[in-house]
């Protein structure tokens, strides 16, 4: 064995593992920047799942049938679960749940800007499932192969559950598209309002995305924003034909040479404006989260007090042996 004479820095050893597709696990050495990048990305992702429940929850009581109501409740419940998987993954990196929640409430942590748009009518629930969850899936599938083990495992679980979300959304729009003239108008209107925000979900274009190169090297990110966005446009431009609807982009056209759809310029000013807190619903969303947290404080305290009392009564004995 002559390996001892070769000095390998922890950083080189780490990068070598990443290059060989060996997953990084919580107790392994990792660069501090890798840890911080993951905490930022995973917590942001978790916050998006949690805040994402608000626009959809808005329509649970007004779903047009019991079938629609049951599926929407199941979907919103899934989002809560996804938030939990992701918070847990972030916690393995050394940040507490309480810290993450504080960062969301104080505005220090971001969440996907799409959830700062309002859900005005029932068709929006269809458009969210089809476009917003569709874009999320496009983003999340490559993350199942991300280099950090707990994050990758959470994403595998999430992706398995997401596909029902997109299908239920498309079914809502398909039903509207076969309905009355007013229902068809509702369907087109929802697509018109959600299309641009949903392609903004892939984030800034590659040349304006300063972290991309490092994240790709660390294999946190596997495919660039623009590449994913193009894939999404290609898929949706075909699917919209089944609805007999159109996408609100005059520049949208198949480009034979590229083998992709060309599409118009994204309004980045709107994107940055919404991210920095000035979207239609930013304040409302955060206010709703803070209210839920504060109004639930007595429940958390009561549960802790009850658990403590039980512990004292049992005199520190183990509660029950595992069979």
């Amino acid at each position: 064995m002559n390996t001892e004479s070769v000095a390998v820095t922890p950083e080189e050893h780490f990068q070598d593992k990443v290059n060989r597709e060996v997953k990084i696990e919580p107790r392994d050495w990792m660069p501090e920047k890798y840890r911080q990048t993951l905490i930022r990305q995973i917590s942001q992702h978790a916050h998006s799942e949690i805040v994402g429940m608000l626009p959809e929850g808005n329509w649970i009581t007004r779903a047009p049938s019991l079938r629609r109501k049951a599926t929407l409740i199941a979907k919103v419940q899934d989002e809560a679960g996804h938030g939990l998987y992701l918070y847990s993954a972030a916690e393995t990196l050394g940040i507490s749940r309480a810290e993450m929640i504080d960062q969301l409430h104080s505005g220090k942590a971001k969440y996907s800007s799409i959830f700062n748009y309002p859900t005005l009518n029932w068709a929006d629930i269809g458009a969210i499932g089809w476009l917003v969850d569709g874009a999320a899936i496009m983003n999340q599938v490559p993350l199942c192969r991300t280099s950090y083990g707990p994050y990758a495992r959470a994403m595998v679980r999430i992706c398995k559950e997401e596909s029902f979300h997109q299908r239920q959304g498309f079914e809502i729009l398909l039903t509207l598209s076969k309905g009355t003239e007013a229902q068809r108008r509702m369907c087109q209107d929802a697509i018109n309002r959600w299309w641009w925000p949903s392609i903004m979900m892939f984030g800034p274009s590659d040349d304006a995305s300063p972290h991309t190169a490092q994240s790709m090297k660390w294999k946190i990110k596997r495919i660039s924003n623009d590449e994913l966005r193009q894939k999404f446009v290609d898929v949706i431009a075909e699917q919209v034909k089944i609805l007999g609807m159109t996408l609100p982009d005059e520049a949208l056209a198949w480009n034979e040479a590229r083998g992709h759809y060309d599409f118009g310029t994204i309004n980045w000013e709107e994107f940055w404006n919404v991210i920095s807190g000035n979207g239609p619903c930013n304040r409302e969303r955060i206010a709703a989260r803070i209210a839920a947290h504060e109004e639930g404080a007595w429940v958390r305290e009561a549960a802790s007090a009850f658990a403590e009392k039980q512990r004292q009564r049992s005199g520190g004995k183990d509660e029950k042996a595992v069979a």
């Binding site: 107790r27 050495w29 660069p31 507490s96 679980r157 007595w298 305290e301 549960a303 509660e319």
Partner: protein
């Protein structure tokens, strides 16, 4: 020369919570962290699926059911407070697991036997 950034172990979270995190009031402190193990069907081992916060074991099991078995993923749930899990140190992996490498005679293929020998 090894250089460590802050290493956080699974078990550290529970300890920190018990100690209280930075003098915040109880409503701001997290409930203890629990690791969740699920038996997907009779005859298989329980397998680690993730973690969650809960005030006590009963709540941990109920929450685990809601979060990790929404689609019939399990028939039995184990939960254990994360701070009770002791883990091997990945930095010692080489010395811990390497000795097995030079003992190939522990594998059946190590032995040279004639092809005529059957049922073995």
């Amino acid at each position: 020369m090894k250089q460590y950034s802050r290493i956080i172990l699974y078990g550290d979270y529970g300890d920190r919570e018990v100690a209280g995190s930075g003098g915040q009031d109880a409503s701001h402190r997290d409930w203890p962290l629990w690791e969740v193990f699920i038996r997907s069907k009779q005859g298989l081992d329980h397998k680690h699926v993730g973690s969650l916060h809960a005030a006590d074991a009963a709540m941990a099991i109920e929450n685990a059911r809601d979060v990790y078995t929404r689609r019939q993923e399990g028939v039995s749930i184990w939960v254990v407070e994360s701070r009770y899990i002791h883990a091997s140190n990945p930095d010692e992996a080489e010395s811990l697991y390497d000795p097995a490498n030079d003992k190939v005679y522990r594998h059946p293929t190590f032995y040279d036997l004639p092809d005529e020998l059957t049922h073995m």
